[in-house]
Structure formats: structure tokens, C-alpha cells
Amino acid sequence: MATITVQSIINANTYQYIDNGEPKSGTAKNVYFSPDRKYVVAMFKDKQDFQQKERLKKITSDHLNRIKNAQGGDYYIEELYRWPTDVIELNGNIGVVVPIYKPAYFFKKGYANQDLIMGEEKNGKWFAGSKFRNKQFPLNLDQSELGNWLSYFQICINITRGVKKLHQMGLAHSDLSYNNVLIDPVSKSAVIIDLDGLVVPGIWPAEVIGTPDFIAPEVLATKHLNKTDPLRKLPSRLTDLHSLPCLVYMFLLYRHPLKGGKVHDLDTEKDDLLSMGAKALFIEHPTDKSNRPKLNQLSKWDTHWGDVNKLPYTITGPYLKELFDQAFIKGLHNPNERPPAEMWEQALLKTTDLMQPCLNPACDQKWYVFDNTNTPKCPFCGTKHQGTLPVLDLYYQFKPSVWKPENHRLMVYNNQYLFQWHVNRHITRSERLSTAEKKPVGYFTFHNNKWVFVNQTLKTMVDKTQNADVPIGSMVELTHGKQLLLSKEEGGRVVVVTMANQ
């Protein structure tokens, strides 16, 4: 056991770490904790060349500062990334200094039946498959670790925002995978780690092609070519846009979007290369059904979530369905067609407006997306919704007296809130909103056998059907066909009420 002091190669800062001879060992780095456990020093196992050093310097100085100084900078640095803060050198070896992960990212309990992984990192992989949530699996995760289905939407939103910001800065992550995110379904948070491999095409080429399961088809299909071959495809922003939906799909459906039953070659390696690369095919392709998972060939622990007929991807709702189609059908072999990160963020956010709590207290998922039918039920446990269900469709003013649909719907449940981003189309729901903008403007409640909306802060709300103002502090009943103008201000929306499950 030795405490080692190391010096920054950028400035005069010094750092310390404890070498007990058994560092946490990753693919490229050995990780050591500082004595106060506030940061880690991750030493590269291999010698880094001049270009690598320059890349790391830039990531830990210029890029770090750009993010810090951006609007909402704290949110990115504190919540979304574990961004390396400095580069150090020891005996010719290079390392990076990275702030420690928050306590939420270590298992409090881990497995339900033993302590083996208690205190270990919550690598995304634990939550990206169905085995560990299957109570029959000998090493299943404790229920207290799993969160509910809504948790995973917030987790995907975090990851998506992290990727969006990198892309806005002209960077590509290049190795986005469940290994490079830590997630906590309990506090509904996610953080992107291992950011020292960032890629700027042309300036900092990719060092890795990615992690199996997440490598874009074109990268695998050209893997055999030399790095200097112009046809060789290496990780970039567009390959991140393949890895990202793979992650989203896996965190919401606990299976892989491309790993189906179709066999391309009798040789395992070749078959894998083809089925994830040149011949990749979405397992839920609507017309080409040749890659549907074969239930009798799945691990017995995975058959519940592996059944795409029982739990098709359409249970994630209409907005995500469209993006999955774009990513895994249209864009699978046409990288330019892949939806950008921001579209995923918006679709995920809008989908949370479609969610309903399941009435069955024993339901594992607890939440589900409204299935657009008149008699909604939870796709996970089959429990039918009881009682009427108000559905609010949002409209914007196209020109005086012409209102057009926003393709945005809000499902109402008891004690559901309404926010500014519903009221006014000029306010976009994002991490950049101020605290004031994140405050609810009113809420919905089931009161005396009626659905009502209670207006808390909307100054110019009007019940168009009754042609009456809805002043602050008053309530208005939601009835079938009712039209409510939420705000008279520029960008103010009208909602139209539909009563489902009558």
C-alpha cells in the first residue's frame, strides 16, 4: 500500500492516489482512488502518444471549460457526465483525474439473495437485459434496485441529453454502451462515463470501434478494411446515433433490437459480424419477419421480455415507435437517416405525458404508455384501467381562428401536473429551463366523481366551450369535447378533451 503523488501536465496541480496493488482494471486503464475518495486517478495501461496527450489535455481543459460555462453547465458536469478534469504523468505513463461517482451509482443491496455485488458500480448492463429482473433467476437483482418503468424514461432522457450536448460541441462519444453509463433507477438518474475517448473526425480519430451490441452496422461491415482506406467507417456522431437508440431500446424493453433468430452463417463469429453488421435487421421489422427472436432458443430467463408479440416495441408509444422505425429500419444502413439525439430527447419527454400509473399495486412496471384505445389496459400485467380517462390533445394557432394539432397528447391521472411547456409552444421542455419555468402551473384531480383542472398560475386561461375565464385559484371540469385555451399570450395552446374508457 503506497500513497503516490502525481503532477498535472497542464498546470501546477498535484494529486494523490492509493496504490494497494489491486486497482480496478478496465480495458485500457487501471483506476486508483484518492485518499479522500473524492476523485480517482485512471492510469492508461499503454503508453500514450503525443496526439493522445494533446487530445486528453484538450478534453480536460478547453472542452471541460466550454461545458462548464454553457447555460446549465452545472447540470452537465454534476449530473450527466463524469468528465475528466486533469491529465497527470508518472514515469512516462499518462493518467486522467476524474471526480468520483455519486453514492447512488453503487448498489445498496444488489442481488436479492446474496451480498456479492453490494457496493459495486451500477453498470448499465445490469439493467439492460431481462435476466436480472426475472425473480426466478438465481442471481436476480433485488426489487429495491429496479425502479419502475417511468424511471427508465428519465434515465434515457439523461443519456440522450448527454449525447446531444457532445454532438452540439462537435464531439462524438464513439463508444457509447451500457458499460459506459452508470444508471440508478431508484433516483432516476444516469451518468455518462469514460469520456476520454471522445472523437473529432479528422482531428482525433477513433481509438476503439465500440462495444459489441452497440457498434453501428457500417463500422462492422468495413472492419476488415485498413484504417486508412477511405471506405472504412469508424465511430462518429452518426454511429453514436445508432448506439443511442440501442441503449434506449434495451433500457425500455430489456432485449437487443438486432439480436434475433436469423442465422446468416454457420460460423459463430461470421454470423455475428453479419447479423450486427452488413446484414443487420431489426427484430421487429414490420414486413421482414425473418429475424424475430425464437422463443424456444432464448435463455429460459429471457422469454418474457423476449416475446415481441406479447410486448412489441409499440408499447413505448407512438413517438418512440416512429423514431425506432427511423433508427432501426430506415437508418440502420443509412446513417444519415438516423434521428438526432435531440429528437430522442423530445420523443422520450412527450411519451412521459402519455403515461398512466397501473392500478395493480403488484405490477412490476407500475407505469405504462396509453395505448390509444378506448379501453386502455396495462400491457405488462393486463390490468384494465378503471373509470374514465381524460385525454388532452394540444393545438397551436396556425393563423387567426385556425388551430392545428401539435402531435402532442397529455394523459391525465389523479394529481398529474400541467407545466409551462404544455401551455406555450415557445417553451421547450429541456435541461435549460429555469427553476421558475419548471414549476407546475396547475394540476388535475378526480374530485367528487369529476375530473377537474385546478388553475394555479395561468393568468389568461379561458374555457372556450363555456366561453368563461378560468381565474387563478379556480377549477374547471374536464368533459368530453371541452376546449380550453391555456393562455392568450403568443404561442398559447388550446387543449381539447377526449374522455376515454367511458
Partner: protein, 211 residues
Amino acid sequence: MRRLPVYLLLDTSGGMFGEPIQALNNALSSLINALRSDPMALDTVWISIITFDRAAKEVIPLTELASFQLPEIACLQTGPRHTGQALELLINKVTKEVRKGSGTQKGDWKPLLFLFTKGAPADKLDFTKAVPLVKALQFGTIVSCAAGYIKDEELLKLLSDNVVHLDNADSHTIKQFFKWVSETIEHGNKSQGTGETVTLPPPPAEITVVT
């Protein structure tokens, strides 16, 4: 579902008696625990243990990691080391257990073989006869580990390009070796370099790789 079958062939001959077999049991249990803390390994790894002394014995048939119950590996006080017989049993098991791809079903990953021995095979003839048959089974990796001084190390090199040599069979070196085994098993799902070949992780500093 593709499985990654891992075969462990362990020497239980007289040469292992005493500290070496204790250290081996200890290292095995660390190996299993390390793999059982790894979600990637739990997704694919299936393990089988075959021991060999004067006879070869399948201690555990190919079993999913999560359901795997590690027994205490016992060894004889004296007795020869019939490594060749172990290979014969291995050939038999691999042929039966490892799923080949077919037109309608995905096959398993290429199996991995780790042979841990304290010395050279006593049944040289059987051993040399079995080697080409083992090689024909197309293992993803074959690693032989020789602990302590071995007279006929050349024989082991027939079986695998990777012969790891431990200077002795104490608990530290054995543990280091099995840590490396676990890294080798876990290797598949990590980030892949842009280079063309997939390489084994470097062995720990304490042991020598004979090439």
C-alpha cells in the same frame, strides 16, 4: 441465445497435494465470484470442470454460471497425472455439449479451454494422440498453465500457443493466474480496438508466458 462454454481442466494428481490444491480451490472460488459479479459473464458464460489424476472425471457438466455450485476439488495423495485421458473426456463432452450453428439455430461461441497442471502428462501417448482432436474442436482460446518446474513443457506447447508458466503453485501466483483467466473470459464484451486482431489481455506481471 449464444453461450460461451468454458472448460476448466484441473490437475488433481499427487503433485497437487497439500498447499497447491488448497490454493487452487481458493482461486477457483475467487474466479467464480468474480464472474458472478459481472453482468456480461452472467449473460453468456457456462462452465464445466474436469479433473484428472489417474482417471479423468467430469466434476461439473457444462452449467450456467448463475446456477453453478462450486464443489471442493479434492486430490490424491499420490498418483499419476493422466492429462491425455482428460483430453479424451473433454473431446467427448465438447462434442456433445457445445451447440453448433445450424440453418435455424444460432450456435454457441467458440469454447474456451484452460488447463491447469502441476507437471507433464504421464500418459504421453494418449496426450499426443488427443491433441490434434482437441485442436480440431476449434476452441476460441486454449491456455495451458504449468505451475512449478515442468520437465516436458514442450508437450503442453503442442496443445496451445499460450503456455503460462507459474514459478510455483502458491496461493498468490495461482490467484493471479485465475484473475487473468477471468479477464480472458470477460474480454469479449469490452470495447474493441480499431485494429484487426482480437488479443488476449496481457498476463499479470508475476507469471511468464512461454511462447
